[in-house]
């Protein structure tokens, strides 16, 4: 035992008490520690530090300094946090982003569940439906933006043209704030409702057949079956869906950037768009760092609240 221990150069617990080593050999073998295992973790520690921890700490570092140039910087304490949290433009963007996320959740969750309920449960149409529904999820974000930028145009886009010329509603997302908002919202619903639908569909598929049989025996209507059997059993997947869709929509950047560029005016200027303007456009790294940290904190808090509420209500 001790021989084996010294051979591998590890720390052998049994070796600490030589008189008992003989009797306790089997137990000691289980307790043997090999500290060389730490080396196996090292690549992960290094790469995570390099890609996440150090950049994050850099952000923290920037957030408390006024940086004029890489060599010329002043410690300013929490000044940037104060500035950012009082900035009317940031506050307006926060309200806008919250409103957007709220609308996204209110539209995508019910729509996704409805889609999942009507999707076929068996037969050849299952795969057809799955592929069709999953299609928008396979398209890259910026391509989704490009598709909708063109689709919603009044002159050459099918969607925009139809609204203007067939429905007779004047629609121009480059000029009208409401139209721009609707375009971005509908685009997000088109892009991400399928995710909710697929999650909900998986949840529905996992309900054993006897539950539906019992509902028939008990004379439950289709609505009662949905309300009392399907919906309660979707709690888990819907919690995930709400969290994913909240985080994603609260941090939405690429699509509105491509479609509207945040405009017209500030109409679709969400937090992320404003942040990148400050950070990359104006290169105000101090305020941008403070902004990022606050942004991060808000997402965390909301997710925590959603998660707690959704899981608690089930008990």
């Amino acid at each position: 035992m001790t021989v084996a221990g010294s051979q591998v150069g590890g720390e052998v617990v049994a070796a600490q008490e030589p008189p008992q080593a003989e009797e306790e050999a089997p137990r000691a073998a289980l307790k043997r520690k090999d500290n060389r295992a730490w080396w196996l973790v090292l690549p992960v520690v290094v790469s995570v530090a390099f890609t996440a921890v150090i950049p994050l700490m850099t952000v923290v570092n920037f957030s408390v300094q006024d940086v004029f140039s890489p060599v010329d910087r002043v410690f300013v304490g929490l000044e940037w946090f104060r500035t950012i949290s009082r900035d009317p433009e940031v506050r307006a963007a926060l309200v806008r982003t919250l409103l957007f996320s709220l609308q996204v959740l209110l539209l995508e969750i019910p729509l996704g569940v409805a889609l999942a309920v009507v999707m076929p449960r068996r037969g050849v149409w299952v795969s057809v439906a799955l592929v069709l529904v999953a299609l928008p999820l396979l398209i890259p974000w910026n391509v989704v933006g490009t598709i909708w930028q063109i689709f919603a145009r009044g002159d050459i886009g099918l969607g925009g043209w139809t609204v203007n010329n067939v429905l007779g509603i004047n629609f121009n997302y480059t000029l009208d704030s409401t139209d721009a908002w609707i375009t971005v919202l509908v685009m997000d619903v088109w892009h991400w409702t399928p995710l909710v639908a697929l999650l909900a569909y998986a949840g529905l598929r996992s309900i054993p057949e006897p539950y539906f049989q019992a509902a028939q025996i008990d004379g439950a209507s289709a609505w009662a079956t949905f309300r009392h059997i399907q919906l309660p059993r979707l709690r888990g997947v819907l919690t995930i869906a709400v969290l994913l869709r909240f985080m994603d929509s609260f941090m939405i950047y690429t699509e509105p950037f491509v479609v509207t560029g945040g405009g017209p005016g500030n109409a679709t200027s969400f937090l992320s768009i404003l942040l990148s303007k400050i950070a990359v456009g104006q290169f105000d790294v101090g305020p941008a760092a403070a902004f990022s940290l606050l942004y991060f904190l808000i997402v965390q808090v909301f997710c925590y609240v959603f998660f707690t509420v959704l899981t608690r209500s089930g008990r």
Binding site: P210, Q213, A214, Q216, S221, H228, P232
Partner: protein, 364 residues
């Protein structure tokens, strides 16, 4: 309440190549308690689902009295069914679970309350009525499911698909007698599916034995035990099952090997038969008693209340159930005696006659 009549009803899951339930005609009479007994996979659940309408039979028609319900969906049939594993509306309280089938049928509120309280009292659920149903243990959950099946007063039948599988053995007995009590009180037709013969025999007015999708025998528990009409019933009912021994009819005499064991009065054509006799009725007699079959004792199981003596007749095992403390020893040669009134003859698995005493030769 109604008679449930199956006319030529059969079901196949694979378009007619094999039958889960072979076409059968059978009537479940109103207000009786039936046990549907058979091994796993014999078509019990399929038959039940045909009655409740969860499955439309491939062939045949289903009648409730004179009403043809073959095409009527489950909701329109007034059937209650309890499944093998608890099926609950998990976010509802126990009370709401019990009330659910009534509320769906727009029963007035006071009546709902009255029925729910009645059922909860019968099943001992009073203490947990306000609890959320998914917080109960599996046994209790199943009792709630059972309660949902019993809460409606206007049902053609209550179908129970092995409902006590998940219930604790100690509680099983209580619940089964509760069910019987409820049956006496309400007069519902009950069809209780089980593969457990004790459950079937203690519960039912009439036991229907199903094997490979066909009813092989139906009757009172004692009838199935004392006079099985099919080898399967002999094996399946009784513990251990009936002894089966190859024999031969020569003239009117039934022989096992060289030993004559009795005669037959059923005008059986000569040829091979199998004789069936339950271990309870096999008597081990002193050597030389006629008619007797020589056998060799191979072992004895001492079961406490009784002994099981295992013997070989030629190379065929025969078990005799004797009083506890029997004196037989392994490898001893004994003579087995089969009482005529409890011994039957089977051909192609179906009972074709019974044994009669050998005229003027030895005790009957």
């Amino acid at each position: 309440m109604a008679d449930i009549r199956l006319e030529g009803v059969g079901h196949s899951y694979d378009g007619g190549r094999t039958w889960a339930v072979k076409p059968m005609t059978w009537t479940w009479r109103s207000a009786r308690a039936y046990a549907l007994l058979g091994p796993s996979g014999c078509g019990k659940t399929t038959l039940l689902n045909i009655i409740s309408g969860l499955i439309t039979p491939t062939e045949g028609r289903v009648f409730f009295d004179d009403r043809d319900v073959t095409g009527v969906p489950t909701r329109g049939r007034d059937i209650a069914q309890v499944f093998q594993f608890p099926v609950l509306y998990e976010e509802m309280s126990v009370y709401d679970n019990l009330a659910f089938p009534l509320r769906n049928r727009k029963v007035p509120k006071q009546e709902v309350d009255r029925r729910v309280r009645q059922v909860s009292r019968l099943l001992g659920l009073d203490q947990v009525l306000g609890r959320r149903s998914r917080r109960l243990d599996a046994g209790r959950q199943q009792i709630v499911s059972l309660g949902r099946g019993l809460v409606r007063s206007q049902v053609a039948a209550v179908l129970l698909d092995e409902p006590l599988t998940v219930v604790d053995p100690a509680l099983k007995w209580t619940l089964r007698s509760k069910l019987k009590e409820i049956h006496r009180e309400t007069g519902h037709t009950l069809i209780y599916v089980t593969h457990d013969q004790t459950e079937a025999l203690t519960f039912a007015d009439e036991v229907v034995v199903l094997n490979e999708g066909a009813i092989v025998q139906a009757g009172e528990p004692s009838e199935l035990f004392l006079s099985p009409a099919h080898e399967f019933v002999g094996h399946f009912i009784g513990s251990p099952g009936m002894n089966m021994l190859p024999a031969e009819v020569v003239g009117h005499v039934v022989r096992v090997g060289a030993a004559e064991v009795g005669t037959t009065k059923d005008d059986l054509p000569p040829g091979p038969v199998r004789i069936g006799v339950r271990p309870e009725f096999v008597r081990i007699a002193p050597a030389g008693t006629s008619p007797g079959v020589p056998a060799r004792v191979t072992g004895i199981d001492r079961m406490g209340a009784y002994d099981l003596v295992h013997t070989l007749v030629g190379e065929h095992p025969v078990i005799a159930k004797t009083e506890a403390g029997s004196p037989y020893r392994p490898d001893a040669a004994e003579y087995l005696h089969f009482p005529a009134e409890r011994t039957f003859l089977f051909r192609d698995q179906v009972r074709c006659g019974s044994l009669a005493p050998l005229d003027g030769r030895g005790p009957a």
